[in-house]
């Protein structure tokens, strides 16, 4: 640093860079279309945010999954209470009130959501979890062999086995253990996670990162070539490749802060609104950070791509539209089949795997958590033979929004690889873009 400033060729280069970047930024700021595009993007995201706020403020109706809040025999004692004291559910002449000393009837509400999940997450492939909170397994008149339905030697518990092939858990439960989970508690958490992942993937990486560059970057070089104002810039001692790159910097100087602001806003609102005992969900910031990184890189790559298409052809936006359609397909594919090879030929696929990695690191219990929703106290799809399809609320949304790491790598490796690939894509599009720009005559 003892070298005096302004002495190398680099300094004069980045004087040009800042000049063009500043110029481009100001040019964007004076255009109404810029504000319309950014405003519409913000509105679209805000509408989704409003749905989220509404969902967080709506109590999810508690469902009595195991039916023990009912009073079959009409004796004033709900089934759950009769169960606990071993009286006959179907005989009005047999209830805990007749015991010595007599027991007062308990309200039915005590038997709704009374046996929530007691599943602590660990990354072991086999977990023994579950506590029979309401005693309808431990105190029941079932024979001991039935109390240990899963044959692990411990009565009234649940065994979870992780299947690394499918990436999901199998639930082997003894009867009446954790059979009446708290819908609201699960649903809020699931909706919260689904919102973050959904808005991150479709809102930021797809909607904003494709449509903002589509409208702002396609004309980055082309508009000036058409109007003739490019004459001034190309008459200066600066290579066309540099013009392309520095104008891109100006575009990023508008788009990146915008993404940062919108992303921070959503992170703050959802951090305060989200479920949980804490005031602010600090851990979620990790996911929001990965969403931001993914969106920043996606806008960079799409910007380079669309600016290149604009240089290639006067009506470059027509070339950009099929690409946007392809990317939408890839976005949906990445949410359902994240390991598909087609995704390697997209921008959105790589961006989304950054978000999936972030979610994987912040919420390592995701596979178990979704399995909780699917199992739904034993009434869910796969595990309960005749009560299928009764997943917990929020499960469907979360299942749709989240996906596994499709590259077969760990979360850190996936992130690093995706960032490198996206960066290479950006450099590649810049390189072809400036080659085409160099060969274009400016009339």
């Amino acid at each position: 640093m003892d070298k005096k400033r302004g002495e190398t060729i680099w300094t004069s280069l980045d004087r040009k860079a800042t000049a063009i970047a500043e110029f481009t930024m100001r040019q964007y700021r004076t255009r109404l279309s810029t504000w319309v595009v950014l405003g519409v993007g913000f509105l679209a995201i805000s509408v989704v945010l409003l749905f989220y706020i509404d969902a967080m403020n709506t109590e999810i109706e508690a469902i009595d999954n195991d039916g023990d809040s009912l009073d079959w025999d009409g004796d004033g004692y709900v089934n759950g209470q009769e169960y606990k004291y071993g009286t006959d559910l179907n005989d009005a002449a047999s209830h805990p009130g007749l015991l010595d000393p007599p027991i007062d009837p308990e309200p039915a509400s005590m038997y709704i959501n009374e046996d929530d999940y007691d599943w602590d997450y660990s990354d072991g492939s086999r977990l023994e979890v579950g506590i029979d909170d309401d005693g309808d397994c431990n105190n029941s008149s079932l024979p001991e062999s039935l109390k240990d339905d899963n044959n692990d030697g411990t009565p009234c518990n649940i065994v979870l086995v992780y299947d690394s092939l499918s990436g999901s858990y199998f639930v082997y439960a003894d009867p009446y253990v954790d059979e009446d989970p708290d819908e609201d508690r699960y649903g809020k958490e699931a909706q919260h996670r689904a919102f973050i992942l959904g808005v991150g993937k479709l809102g930021f990486v797809f909607l904003l990162s494709i449509f903002v560059p589509l409208f702002l970057a396609t004309g980055l070089i082309r508009d000036e070539m058409t109007s003739g104002t490019m004459q001034y810039m190309t008459a200066k001692p600066i290579a066309r490749g540099e013009i392309f790159l520095y104008r891109m910097l100006g575009y990023l100087a508008i788009v990146w802060p915008y993404l940062l602001v919108v992303c921070s806003l959503l992170a703050i609102v959802s951090g305060f609104m989200g479920p949980g005992d804490q005031i602010f969900r600090f851990k979620d910031l990790g996911v929001w950070f990965s969403i931001l990184i993914a969106a920043l890189l996606a806008t960079l790559v799409y910007g380079m791509l669309f600016a290149f298409l604009g240089v290639l052809w006067k009506y470059g936006i027509i070339l950009a539209l099929p690409i946007a359609a392809w990317e939408l397909g890839m976005a949906l594919l990445s949410m359902t089949v994240p390991e598909s090879t087609f995704l390697r030929m997209s921008i959105v696929g790589w961006s989304m795997s950054i978000i999936d990695s972030g979610a994987y690191l912040v919420w390592p219990d995701m596979a178990l958590f979704t399995q909780k929703g699917a199992w739904a106290g034993g009434t869910g799809d796969a595990s309960f033979f005749f009560g299928g399809g009764k997943e917990l609320p929020g499960y469907r949304a979360l299942e749709w929004a989240q996906s596994d790491l499709g590259l077969g790598l760990g979360p850190y490796a996936t992130t690093v690889l995706s960032v490198v690939v996206l960066f290479c894509q950006a450099v590649f599009f810049w390189f072809i873009g400036q080659l085409i720009f160099k060969s274009k005559e400016i009339v």
């Binding site: 980045d14 000049a19 001034y232 190309t234 200066k236 400016i442």
Partner: protein, 329 residues
Amino acid sequence: MIPDLAQEGKAQQQAWVPEAQAPVVMLNNVGKTYGRYQALGGISLALSGGVTGILGLNGAGKSTLFKLLMGKLQPTQGEVRLFGTNPWKNPAPYARVGYVPENEKMHDWMTAHEFVSTFARLHGLTRDEAKKEANRVLEFVGLSDVMHKKIGRYSKGMRQRAKIAHALVNDPDLIILDEPLQGCDPLARTTIMNVIRELGRMGRTVLLSSHILSEIERITEQIVILHQGRLLAIGNLHAIREQLDNIPHTIEIECKDAKSLAKDVLSLDMVHGLQFPSSSKLKVFTHHLGEFHKRLPKIIVDNEHDVMVINNPDDDLQSILGYLTGGFR
């Protein structure tokens, strides 16, 4: 590589060394075709120093020639060299070139000062230096008092001057002006002509194009005539002009009282005839156009004639072209 965010200190120029002894502008059998249309065919030219007027009708290839020099177009044949360097391949010589395009589109959302200083920074100047240089050149073209107004609110003449200022900001050795006087009012015209003459006096190589001979005549004597993409004549205007004096010219004058003007005009011996298309219009026929234009202002001023328009559109250039191509027009 440390980003130069502070942007202090003297600017560094690009490490480009012009070829010694090379002419400023050199064209060797240069041609440009668009499909089957030949815009420019086989032009050879070498220029260094002085003000040169490129004359030609619309479509003669003046702008094409300039765009080839500025590396906007790739020649279909031949070699273009600026300071010995091929401008299509290497933008480095533009460090010493100022270019005023014909295009009327400008960055209307900027002030002239912002426009000039922004583009000055593309020469590697710092922010402060660029601002200082912008002040200097805007003063030079006479826009100092309005330089902080948006270009969108400028008149045509002011826009042209802003364009010229932007081209002069790097103190160039070669200045290329494509139709710099087009659409300007007489006052702006005079200012711009003075600027160009001044540049010539400063020893710069100036190329300017026009399709109006009398404009060029007021600035320089060294001309190049282009016609239908071909080089028709290079040289001193006087030599060409002398031969032209045998061709009759028509000048149209619009004034309040055509008859009394006619009486005074007839006192000039180079006038051959008159016509009165209407009571406020006078057509003058002469063989000595240059001489007539020299003497006419004095007559108008001395006798206090109320003259609205003096018109000899393309006429003189048409005549030269007709003369040079062998036909009479």
